[in-house]
Amino acid sequence: MLITNPLNSSALAFPILECIHIVGFAFSIGTIAIVDFSLLGLGLRGGSPAQLARSTWLLTLGGLVVMLFSGLLLFSSDPDMYYLNWAFLIKMVFFVSAVIFHYTIHRKVVRSEVPTSNGKLVASVSLVLWAGVIFGGIFIGFLYPGLSVRF
C-alpha cells in the first residue's frame, strides 16, 4: 500500500516546519548555552549555574521537544535521502551524544552546588556537541544523497 506523506503535498509545510525547528533550537540550545557560559564565567554572573538551570530547564526541555518533533516530521518528508546523507548521520551522532551528555554528566555538574573543577570542561564539551548538531544540520543541505559531496 502506498502511503503519501501530506507534508510532501504542500509547498509551505517544509519551510514552516524548518522555522519551527530553528525557533526550537534557539530556545533549547540558547538556554543550554546560557548555563554553559555561566559555568565558563561568562554572561550571567552573580548566581550559581544550578540556580540558573532551575529556571531554564523547562524551556530547554520544551525547545528540545519542539525541535525533536519538527525534526522527525522533516525527516519523514524524505527518509531515504536523510539515511544516505552522512551529514545527517553525523548530526544524529552529535545529537544523541549531546542529549545523553546533557541529562547525565552535564546535569550532575550543573546541579552540584559546590563549584567543581571540571565545570569548564563540561561546559565546553556541551557547547561543542551542540555546535556539532548545528553544523551537521546545515551540511545536510549541501550534500547529495549517496554519500558524495555535491559542489
Binding site: P15, C19, I22, I29, L44, G46, G47, L52, S55, I134
Partner: protein, 201 residues
C-alpha cells in the same frame, strides 16, 4: 544604485571566492546558525524575563545588564556571517522578497530599540523596584520576540526563492535597448527587434 553596488560587491575577489568555495560557505552558514542559537537564546531569555516568564529568580537588571556584552558578541558573529553570506549572492538577494523583508524588520528592530531604550533598557534597575513589570517593558519584550522570530523565519525563507536572474537581465537589456532607440531615433538599431535582443542576452 543599490543594484550596481550589489553587482559590484558580489564580484569582488573575496565574495567570488566565498561563493565558489566548497566548504567555507556552509561553514559560514553554520556559524550564522550558532550565532542565532547563542545570541537569539539570550534575546529570548531577556524578553521572557521582562514578561515574567523565565529567570524569575534573577533581577531584571542582572539579566539585561549582564547579557548586554555577550549579546553584542553574538550579534557581531551572526551579523558578520550574515554579511558574508549576503555579499556572496548580493544581486540575487537584492531581488529576494524575504531578504528585503528581513532588512525592513532590522530597521524596525532599530526603531523599537530607540523607542524603548530610555524607558526599558537603559535603566533596568527601575523595573525591579516597581511591584509589577510596567506595560511598556512587556510591550518591548513582546515586540522584540515577534520581530526576531520573524527575522529568523525570513532568513530561512531566503533560500526558498531563487530570483530568475537570466530573465531579469534579459529584461533590463531590453529596457536599455528601448531607451537607446528612443534617444537615438527609431532606425538606430536596424535589424534588431526585441526578441533578438532578449535572446542574445
Amino acid at each position: 544604485m543599490l543594484l550596481s553596488f550589489a553587482q559590484w560587491i558580489q564580484f569582488t575577489t573575496m565574495f567570488t571566492a566565498l561563493r565558489g568555495s566548497a566548504n567555507v560557505y556552509p561553514i559560514v552558514l553554520s556559524l550564522h546558525m550558532i550565532g542565532i542559537a547563542f545570541f537569539g537564546g539570550m534575546i529570548l531569555m531577556t524578553d521572557l524575563r521582562l514578561l515574567g516568564l523565565a529567570l524569575r529568580n534573577r533581577s531584571i537588571a542582572d539579566v539585561v545588564n549582564q547579557f548586554r556584552v555577550p549579546k553584542r558578541w553574538g550579534l557581531l558573529l551572526t551579523a558578520t556571517c550574515g554579511i558574508l553570506l549576503a555579499g556572496s549572492k548580493a544581486e540575487e538577494y537584492y531581488y529576494n522578497a524575504f531578504f528585503r523583508t528581513k532588512l525592513i524588520l532590522f530597521a524596525v528592530v532599530i526603531v523599537t530599540e530607540l523607542v524603548f531604550y530610555r524607558s526599558v533598557y537603559a535603566n533596568p534597575e527601575v523595573l525591579d523596584r516597581t511591584p509589577s513589570v510596567p506595560v511598556n517593558a512587556k510591550l518591548a519584550a513582546a515586540i522584540s520576540m515577534l520581530l526576531w522570530t520573524s527575522i529568523a523565519c525570513c532568513g530561512r525563507g531566503i533560500g526558498y526563492i531563487e530570483p530568475p536572474l537570466d530573465k531579469i537581465h534579459a529584461q533590463i537589456h531590453l529596457r536599455q535597448d528601448c531607451a537607446l532607440r528612443a534617444w537615438r531615433g527609431p532606425y538606430s538599431l536596424k535589424g534588431q527587434d526585441h526578441q533578438d535582443v532578449a535572446s542574445t542576452n
